[in-house]
């Protein structure tokens, strides 16, 4: 399902995705709290103004107005940075959107450390917060292909759907002709025994980078990509974990409450499973700066990540 050529880059993923979606689906409304430009919603705003609604710099209003727009028969896509959607408007997400059956999508951009401004603009805990809400759908897509396909699924998924977004130069790694995103499905990107690596979202890009280094070093490993954090496919995750003596989880999220926690919950409920090493953002304030710099600071750059995976396997 991966493209042989992994070098394609899309410069404005959500501009294309939102315009394509709104052109086909007249019931979809792109909503913003004064961040359309920074979430790359350009064409919809300019060319389909009836499907673009800005509520001003007010995220609680963004989410609650969006919940109302859903109750008028539309499919709202509330876009903002992940930190504001979850931290500032968590109650509105849970109560206004999360308690009913109507499709309401919240798209959190620049999640984890994918924002140069430290702490206040970074959302290292969003997945954990949202997956605690009953009956919610939580998706962390890994690239342009999956982001687009997951959006197409989200607009027909009942209830609150929280998804992490990509902006700016975003790789096209999954082959649009062969890959099909299905809610709840996990994807084995590499079968190779050895250490089992489980990743999601941006961190699946990092896992692929580390995988290339591990291959060069001759370290056997397997890769499982888990885009749907909730409802988690417990069977597929457990099957993968119990095929390995060591599991390493990799996520662009705190190692508390995110993918690593999810995997350990699933495995420990069964008991007698593999050793699980959680790699991601530690439970401490991350630095700011370029993504490359922050990754280096946190030991998430490809060479360090590969070494940490190799160490965990020993």
């Amino acid at each position: 399902m991966l493209l042989a050529d992994q070098t394609a880059i899309h410069a404005a993923p959500f501009d294309e995705i939102s315009f394509d979606l709104c052109s086909r689906r007249k019931d979809v409304v792109m909503m913003s709290a004064d961040l359309s430009k920074y979430c790359q919603i350009i064409q919809v705003k300019n060319e389909l103004p009836d499907q673009h609604l800005d509520v001003g710099m007010a995220e609680q209003n963004l989410i609650s107005v969006a919940a109302g727009v859903a109750k008028a028969g539309f499919v709202p896509v509330a876009t903002t940075f992940a930190c504001y959607a979850t931290r500032r408007a968590y109650d509105q997400m849970m109560i206004c959107m999360g308690t009913g059956p109507l499709t309401s999508i919240v798209l959190g951009f620049t999640p984890g450390i994918a924002n140069p401004a430290r702490i206040h603009h970074q959302a290292a805990e969003d997945l954990g917060m949202v997956r605690a809400i009953p009956d919610t759908t939580v998706i962390d897509p890994m690239d342009m292909t999956e982001f687009q396909q997951a959006m197409n699924v989200a607009v027909d998924t009942p209830g609150l759907v929280y998804m992490r977004g990509h902006r700016g130069n975003t790789p096209v790694l999954l082959d649009p002709a062969k890959y099909r995103f299905e809610l709840g499905k996990t994807y084995r990107l590499k079968e190779g025994g050895g250490v089992g690596i489980v990743s999601t979202g941006h961190a699946s890009q990092w896992a692929l980078e580390a995988s290339a280094i591990l291959d060069a070093k001759g370290v056997p490993h397997s890769l499982l990509h888990v885009p749907t954090i909730k409802p988690a496919n417990e069977d597929e995750i457990a099957d993968f974990c119990f095929e390995h003596k060591t599991i390493v989880t990799v996520e662009n999220h705190q190692i508390v409450t995110g993918l690593g926690s999810l995997v350990t919950e699933i495995v420990s409920d069964i008991g007698g499973g593999p050793k699980i090493k959680r790699i991601g953002i530690p439970n401490q304030w991350a630095p700011g700066g370029t993504l490359g710099y922050i990754r280096e600071q946190l030991g998430l750059d490809a060479p360090t990540l590969a070494s940490r995976i190799e160490e965990a396997a020993q």
Partner: protein, 283 residues
Amino acid sequence: MNDMTNQRVLRLELLAAKIRRNTLDICMQRGGYAGQGVALADVAACLYFDEMRDDGEGWFYDRFILSNGHDAIMTYGALAEHGSYSMEDLRTYNADGTWVDQSPIEGQLGFEITAGSLGQGPSQTAGIAWGERMKGNNKRMYCLFSDGELQEGNVWEAAMFAAHQKLSNMVWIIDNNDLQATSRTQDVLGVEPVPEKFASFGCFARRVDGHSIPDILAAFAEAKTITDRPYVMVLDTRIFAGIDCLEEALPRAHYVAKHQADWDAGLAEINATITNLERQING
């Protein structure tokens, strides 16, 4: 007042009295937000039995959104008269295991949003109003919220948005009873002058006597003449207004427990009011 107007008002006063009786009947079982239900009976009668249009299928064409969940008691009292709830079911209000929630969840008949987390009704109603207008229909949206909710920032974010979008298909009704969970609103965190605040946010706002049915009807009529702004009805109400003995005994009751109120005296008074109104209507 001509005869037709008089009959219209008398009919609504009778419905309001029956809503008050239903409120006592429901709350005397296990306690409840009786003071609010009684106080809001006048606006409820106007809203459910005069202002909102029928959809021809036993429900309403226009949409009512309750923001403060505890005022569900008002909706219950009104919908019992409407025939869409039975008093038998409503008497289970506040009982363990009942589906008749004190503060209902989205989807229960008559409740469009989950309203227990305060301050979130105005913005959701604004979203509904934006969407209904976008669909090109002439539905009107009504949202009830309380003066205490004005302390929540989300309400003012919604006011800015609604005025900016010129949502004139929407009426916000504020239950301005100077009472919140622990004390008088003016003692906890004053919110007055309420009409002036909403006017400065770009809404059309008017203070209305919440216990005058002619004044409430006039405000609803005026709202339809405002075509470039949302309409905010600042409804001055008094806890238990319309049942003198209870208003005197429990003027600041946010929640009335079973043993606090003299339910029998209240029922006797409201039954006498109903008999008197029926006599006037029937000549």
